[in-house]
Symmetry: C2
Subunit: 446 residues, 2 copies
């Protein structure tokens, strides 16, 4: 590869100045969120008590294709953006595939994942609107760490509910949040009504994103001058994450290629949407034929085995009713190490796109994900987050198909985060202690 470029960076002047709002280009718009009590269609101002107002407007915006990124947010993006687009020569060689594999390396963000892309604007808009405190949930802790840092940047206090199983599996992530001054509580906790109800019913409950969301919303709505923030699922979060795909689009041009397949792991959809939507717009507007594959865990398969219907975004039912692919808001996912993918539903945009067959989904077993992660680590030198391992597994599957057919397809995936805080998961993998979990709908599914 000596004369070939491995990593592509954009100059700071080329970092996107606008996010891409795919809602403006969708033929079938997402169905509206509903008030659970009245079943009335919600408007942005109905969410003002929970989120910063500008975020509510972004959430409902179906007309503006481009949303300006505030200058203060772009200044903070410069701390780590552009992230590199990398040609995975090492992985290609390890697989013996003719495919050209690229990945966008979001793991170089100082917090270790793409989550900072939305944490910064969410904290910024809160600050602009005079908010003093922010709350949130976090699974593996990537989002919580990012919000903790963003809150510190803008002088806000942050309280984070971390899913209990992750709080215990990944103590360093808690330490990182605390280094940035955030208060971290294991969820379910006895500090909220939602938490108390869950613990009373199931004292050994290990937590889930849906539960932690309930607790964080409850804290936000019962605390003066406090707003809730969310790390995925919602349309405004995915909007912010489009900075990934917009950069990747420019960087793929630098590499002289265009992706045949775009792959990302899938929890609530912001990582997948952030990478995919800027490319998907060329399918919608210009008839390109790129395939978009969401890689979800086999034990939490809302896209491949869920139902499309209205459901709550959280366990306690505090959120509006959202039109989503869902396993049911009371579904408790298995204790896989990919804590960021342990969520019962999919964001409304992605759900509509899947319904319209504009995107695809595959499910990946836990052990297959780690197999892929270790192949990648040894080939590219980066230990991937358990979440990202799902995208790598799907990538390897597609690359191996190319090996069979001889096709030189261009595959682009998002390396959403590194796994340096997840080494106990790798220890378990090497010790043969990881298990696969089947999906069993059971009575909690509804």
């Amino acid at each position: 590869m000596s004369n070939k470029i491995k990593r592509f960076f954009l100059p700071e002047s080329e970092i996107p100045t606008q996010w891409y709002n795919i809602q403006a280009d969708m033929v079938n718009k997402p169905l509206p969120p509903l008030n659970p009590a009245t079943k009335e269609v919600l408007k942005p101002e109905d969410l003002f008590p929970i989120f910063a107002e500008e975020l509510c407007r972004q959430e409902f915006d179906q007309t503006h294709r481009w949303i300006d990124i505030p200058e203060e947010v772009r200044d903070m993006y410069k701390y780590y953006r552009s992230t590199p687009l990398v040609r995975a020569y090492g992985l290609e060689k390890a697989l013996g595939t003719p495919a050209h594999i690229y990945f966008k390396n979001e793991s170089v963000s100082p917090m270790g994942s793409h989550k900072l892309n939305s944490a910064i604007p969410q904290a910024y808009y809160c600050k602009q609107e005079g908010v003093k405190n922010v709350t949130t949930e976090t699974g593996a802790g990537q989002w919580g760490a990012s919000l903790a840092y963003a809150a510190k940047l803008f002088g806000l206090e942050a309280a984070v509910y971390q899913v209990k199983i992750s709080y215990e599996q990944k103590p360093y992530r808690r330490s990182i949040m605390q280094t940035f001054g955030a208060q971290v509580t294991a969820s379910p906790s006895m500090s909220t009504r939602a938490g108390k109800d869950i613990l009373t019913a199931t004292p050994s409950h290990q937590g889930s994103l849906g539960t932690a969301i309930s607790e964080a919303i409850e804290l936000a709505t019962t605390t003066p001058n406090c707003k809730y923030t969310l790390g995925s699922v919602l349309s405004h979060v995915t909007l912010h994450q489009t900075v990934i795909g917009l950069e990747a689009e420019k960087q793929m041009k630098m590499a002289g290629e265009y992706p045949d397949i775009v792959i990302a792991c899938f929890g609530g959809g912001s990582n997948f949407g952030g990478m995919s939507f800027p490319f998907l717009r060329h399918n919608i507007l210009e008839g390109k034929k790129t395939r978009f594959i969401a890689a979800e865990p086999a034990s939490c398969p809302k896209l491949t085995k869920g139902e499309f219907r209205y459901d709550f975004g959280d366990e306690a039912g505090y959120t509006p009713l959202l039109p989503m692919f869902t396993l049911g808001h009371k579904f408790t996912p298995a204790n896989i190490h990919a804590g960021g993918l342990r969520y019962h539903g999919a964001g409304v945009i992605v759900s509509q796109l899947l319904k319209d067959k504009l995107i695809e989904a595959v499910d990946i077993q836990q052990i297959e994900a780690f197999n892929a992660g270790v192949i990648f680590a040894r080939a590219e030198g980066i230990i991937p987050a358990p979440e990202s391992c799902h995208a790598i597994a799907a990538t390897i599957n597609e690359a191996n198909k190319c090996k069979e057919t001889g096709e030189e397809k261009v595959i682009l995936f998002n390396l959403s985060g590194h796994g340096l805080i997840d080494m106990s998961a790798y220890d378990n993998y090497f010790a043969g202690n990881l298990v696969n979990y089947s999906y069993e709908p059971g009575e909690n599914a509804k």
Copy 2:
């Protein structure tokens, strides 16, 4: 800062093609290493049984200013180089200093530190010479992880002796090494004579780099087709690390500035030398007046309180006698969290330069180091390694002097690694459990 550039990258075509060998430019060359038994001056071939031959030649080379970087090594450098040069606008603001602070961010290497810069060529030369197995020591594990990965890249087996206190403090680093297929043993161990002797004399011995080096050398010299590799101290390791300073020199030009002060933390000297020597050559050759400050831990102060004399590089006395600033090869450093700085001596080049007053040294207490690390983390978003915290503390001291005098000095420091695997140290810091250690020479000093 909106129109100002924060991070400077080099295109891959500008990554250095040669390392800089300062020995060629030194007026007073380092004194030669001696055979401990005969006191005769050693030649490169005397070290062939221990190290790859090309590394031995590099070690003794006092004539060639520039040493070509092999193409295969440059290909591997492309996986993470250039690393960014960053203008620390956040830190400047937090300190209220008129100084212009820059840092070279070596923490973005996939192994989390600068160590990979030498691990790759060391593994490469071993492979070229038909070696099958490599051994090494590691403290905090940054070097061991880098060697483990580099060995995997070139198809070598790696055995790593990790200082016991770090093995216990930083279990994730062990997991990382194992992910890359290395065998990791806590040192002192019962697997070598050197280890047995130490454990017999001091059963509770917590290990030191000097002890782990003895064990690794012993394994290398008693195993067929096996070479030893070292992560710092030696001149060839520092040579490889000059890629840092050479890149920084080009990047500072992009920023339109030249450093008045260059700062790096100091364990054995390769990080400090790698950053400093390319700039120091302009002092030597062109009369520039840049200051070079090595930041060492107050509990292990070989530069500020050691003696310049011949001493062994390891605890058991397996190495040649080296002319170095030393606390005595039997000195056991206190259990500070900056495991990579727990070494009794300084490399021969740095020792000569310090003797000739071409560089300076300061000692930093553990708590001062973490104070600085937290200020930096909250200002720049990157949690620094405990080792790097020493460089940051020295940087803050110089920046605060500028605040008093109003001088706009340009300060450049090396962020040698991130602290994501060292979060237990930060936990201890926030819990108030960290202590400062005084240096007490005692009877072990000789």
